[in-house]
Subunit: 75 residues, 2 copies
DNA sequence: CGTGTAAGGAATTCTGACACG
DNA sequence: CGTGTAAGGAATTCTGACACG
């Protein structure tokens, strides 16, 4: 485990300026790995938030999620 | 502002081992000051969590909330 | 491909109150 | 006093799908 995952998606959305849809999609693409509450609610860490920002920046730079996943693997 | 208040009461409850009732009561007694989302949901910082633990410890030591509030003022 | 949205349901939180003591 | 609980409502999140392209 890296850091405490205690932040919900609404707050992550505010902090990153991204929509919940985008944040959930990055998880679907296996770029981020939030925890889940018993009820299934996603919980993020501040590290996750930073990763999400990085992901979005790179997507804006023209990268695709598949490439970003490879970058994750090769680190 | 001290630190980012992004954690919801359910997580605070897990992290402190206290009930939501206790956490809300400490706020009612003006010992902690969480933020609120637009919808009215409480948001706590890690500092708040530490404060909550301290409060509960002192209550266990026999102090009353009124005394704890005075201790806050005199610091 | 990455993101928007409407849809219905489920998890989470909120307040005010009654209870004990 | 500090905390438990049942009650009803409201805010938040979840999933799967259709859309565009």
């Amino acid at each position: 485990m890296t850091k405490k995952k205690v932040i919900q998606i609404g707050v992550v959305s505010e902090l990153t300026g991204l929509t919940e849809r985008q944040i959930r999609y990055y998880e679907d693409r296996k770029l981020i790995f939030p925890d889940r509450s018993k009820g299934g609610v996603r919980k993020y860490s501040f590290e996750d938030i930073q990763a999400i920002i990085d992901i979005h920046t790179k997507l804006s730079d023209g990268f695709h999620t598949v490439e970003l996943r490879r970058m994750l693997a090769g680190s």
